[in-house]
């Protein structure tokens, strides 16, 4: 029973990792950039959700207020994602990849420390108060699942299904896949690469923002550095699943969450992070392209 309970905890944590990992993997799939600022998008989403909820809770029911928080967080995160792409990454699209990578780390530092000085964010952690409607647990036999965990799972699942449908079924989705496959050829076929790249950043950041709200509801404290660890772990999840593969990121996130929780629960809580990063090393040794990644041959 304890094992099942830990599994539930792990899947709930893992689904948040999945949402963040999708952002990493989508951006990598299109522009071959590890967007290290993605974890900080999660932080921005969490802060937007926090203020949106505070503003809306007076005039709307808690469920509506939370829904509003999600929408606003996703919208602002998407906007921030696109702005970052246009201003920082686009000028470097044809530069060596290491330049873009260093820029991404720079953007991450700017976002974190920028958040420290912006008065309504600030360096001090803020407590998030969870509305009564979302407090409490469902008991199934000896198993307990908190309402927030259910919300996390449901929201992640819905977002992932919508994303998969979008990528597989719409024209824009088809164009994204084409750009990911071969950017130059896609451009020759009349696809506006700039537009597709922006859309990719917007979707990735929106999912990151949603993950931020979920993260803040699960672990109700927000601060400018809150995105670093989940961002790092989601990055590993993306590599584990095969960077560039969306289903891979989903599976990778779940595996990371479950592995971390089970290690804490049954081996030792001191080793949880060691196991998470150990997984990365093993994957890179055994299957460098990840679980579902395509083994791409470098064209000479």
């Amino acid at each position: 029973m304890v094992f099942l309970q830990q599994l539930v905890n792990g899947i709930s944590l893992g689904s948040v990792y999945s949402l963040i990992a999708i952002g990493y993997t989508m951006v990598y799939g299109i522009v071959k950039l590890i967007n290290f600022a993605h974890g900080d998008i999660l932080m921005i989403g969490a802060f937007c959700g926090y203020y949106a909820f505070l503003w809306a809770q007076g005039s709307a029911s808690p469920v509506l207020a939370v829904a509003f928080a999600f929408l606003l967080a996703m919208a602002i995160s998407a906007l921030v994602g696109v702005i970052i792409e246009k201003t920082c990454y686009k000028p470097l699209r044809n530069a060596p990849r290491i330049n873009a990578l260093i820029t991404a780390i720079g953007v991450s530092i700017v976002l974190e420390n920028g958040a420290r000085v912006i008065p309504f964010m600030g360096p001090n952690p803020r407590q998030v108060s969870i509305p009564e409607a979302f407090k409490g647990v469902f008991a199934l036999g000896g198993l307990t699942i908190s309402k927030v965990q259910v919300l996390t799972l449901a929201t992640s699942l819905v977002l992932m299904v919508v994303l998969t449908a979008f990528v597989q079924l719409t024209r824009t989705g088809k164009a994204m896949r084409a750009v990911s496959h071969d950017m130059d050829a896609a451009q020759l076929m009349g696809i506006s690469v700039n537009r597709i790249v922006s859309i990719t950043f917007a979707i990735g950041a929106a999912l990151g923002g949603a993950a931020g709200v979920l993260y803040a509801m699960n672990f109700p404290m927000i601060n400018p550095y809150m995105g670093i660890m989940p961002g790092l772990k989601a990055f590993i999840a993306a590599v584990f699943g095969g960077i560039g593969s969306i289903p891979g990121a989903m599976i990778g996130g779940l595996v990371m969450g479950v592995a971390e929780t089970l290690t804490k629960g049954f081996i030792s809580s001191k080793l949880a992070d060691a196991v998470a990063f150990g997984i990365l090393i093993v994957i890179l040794l055994v299957r460098p392209s990840g679980l579902l990644g395509k083994s791409a041959r470098e064209k000479v």
Binding site: V2, M229, K270
Partner: protein
């Protein structure tokens, strides 16, 4: 090329010429303080800084020390040991401080004690309770009791007052304060005859404790000891209640301010602290009233300790009759006075011998806002 270096040289000369102007002038005595004014324990840092400044202002208003005014130089370390080291170097080299109030958290203070001892700066930490803090040498003092005492107090309270036979601990494996408390609680609780059913850990900055708490819940302890600072405690407490842990949680002085940073999940919990603002003592009342008048907030225990630490230093300089480090150190050893947080005299390890109070969190008048009430005092 030559021109460029000439310009640089001139600028450099200017900077060097300006530098001494920044440090203390001859009619002030420089005291430093390093506090986490931002970051996870900022509430402590801000209040401690303010209380220290209040003490300095009071002393200066009463004529200063040795005919000179005291000047407080403040640095922020964000509760990160590396930043404490940088701040300390800056205070010593640039402002030539003769004594330091700080650091606040144990890991931060531990990072600078060796340096303070070497440079002969009298360091009085108001609130670092880790046992090893004063081991670095005779220049290191503290205004609070240490963790072996605090852990014992809580273990005794759990076993005798709450009737707990089993206990579990969840602690921060990367924090000396948390580790020290875990050790002393474990030793005292088992010595009394209690059983520790589970000890779980996490790392600084962790937010997900579900796995550890699920495990603790399955071991059904009578009490759960959470020796960490308020911001982490409130996260642990929320998740503990969701995981089905309904027993009282216990904490130490890091819980100070928890009532302003957590909701009804901490109702029925207890923690040990250095003083209670509603104690029936004239000195406490005066301090609380003055602090409220100046900063419009109720001072927490760490503020009271920083206030005491500042007075201790001023008294020692007065008694020493000079700012010679060895003379101040010798005068510090002679401290024996009633301060806000109690009667303080130092033992041979420069730890004050003083009592602890146990505070209880009860359901407040406002929903989701617990109230702190005085429970009992434990003497050493």
């Amino acid at each position: 090329m030559f021109k460029k270096s000439a310009v640089l040289l001139v600028i450099l000369a200017f900077v060097v010429a300006l530098l001494p102007a920044c440090s203390a002038t001859s009619n002030t005595i420089a005291i430093g303080t390093i506090m986490p004014i931002s970051g996870p324990v900022s509430t402590y840092g801000i209040q401690s800084r303010d209380a220290s400044q209040m003490a300095i202002d009071e002393i200066n208003a009463a004529g200063g020390v040795l005919g000179k005014k005291l000047q407080l130089y403040v640095e922020d370390d964000e509760a990160t040991p590396e930043k404490t080291v940088n701040a300390f170097t800056k205070l010593v080299t640039q402002h030539k401080i003769v004594a330091l109030v700080g650091g606040l958290t144990s890991p931060c203070t531990l990072a600078i004690i060796a340096d303070a001892q070497k440079r002969k700066v009298v360091l009085v930490t108001p609130s670092s309770t880790n046992d090893t803090v004063t081991d670095a040498g005779n220049f290191i003092f503290r205004a609070c009791y240490n963790d072996s005492f605090q852990g014992q107090v809580m273990a005794k309270f759990a076993y005798q007052n709450l009737g707990a036979k089993t206990a579990a601990i969840i602690f921060d494996n990367t924090n000396d304060y948390s580790k020290g408390l875990k050790d002393s609680f474990t030793a005292a609780f088992t010595a009394l005859g209690g059983t520790l059913v589970d000890t779980e850990s996490y790392a600084k900055g962790d937010t997900d404790f579900n796995a550890q708490l699920t495990k603790i819940a399955s071991n059904k302890p009578d009490v759960l000891f959470v020796p960490d600072y308020y911001s982490t405690v409130s996260l642990v407490a929320k998740q503990a209640r969701t995981a089905g842990i309904t027993v009282p949680m216990l904490g130490a002085d890091g819980w100070d301010e928890i009532a302003n940073n957590a909701g009804d999940e901490v109702d029925g919990c207890y923690y040990s602290n250095h003083y209670s603002p509603d104690a029936n003592d004239q000195q406490v009342k005066d301090f609380v009233a003055a602090y409220k008048a100046k900063y419009n907030a109720e001072p927490n225990a760490l503020a009271a300790l920083a206030y005491d630490a500042t007075y201790m230093i001023a008294d020692a300089i007065k008694l020493a009759g000079s700012t010679d480090p060895d003379a101040i150190q010798a005068a510090m050893m002679k401290t024996n006075k009633k301060f806000v947080t109690g009667q303080i005299s130092f033992n041979e390890k420069r730890n004050p011998v003083k009592s602890a109070v146990i505070l209880e969190l009860v359901k407040g008048d406002v929903a989701n806002k617990p109230k702190v009430v005085y429970n009992t005092t434990v003497n050493p």
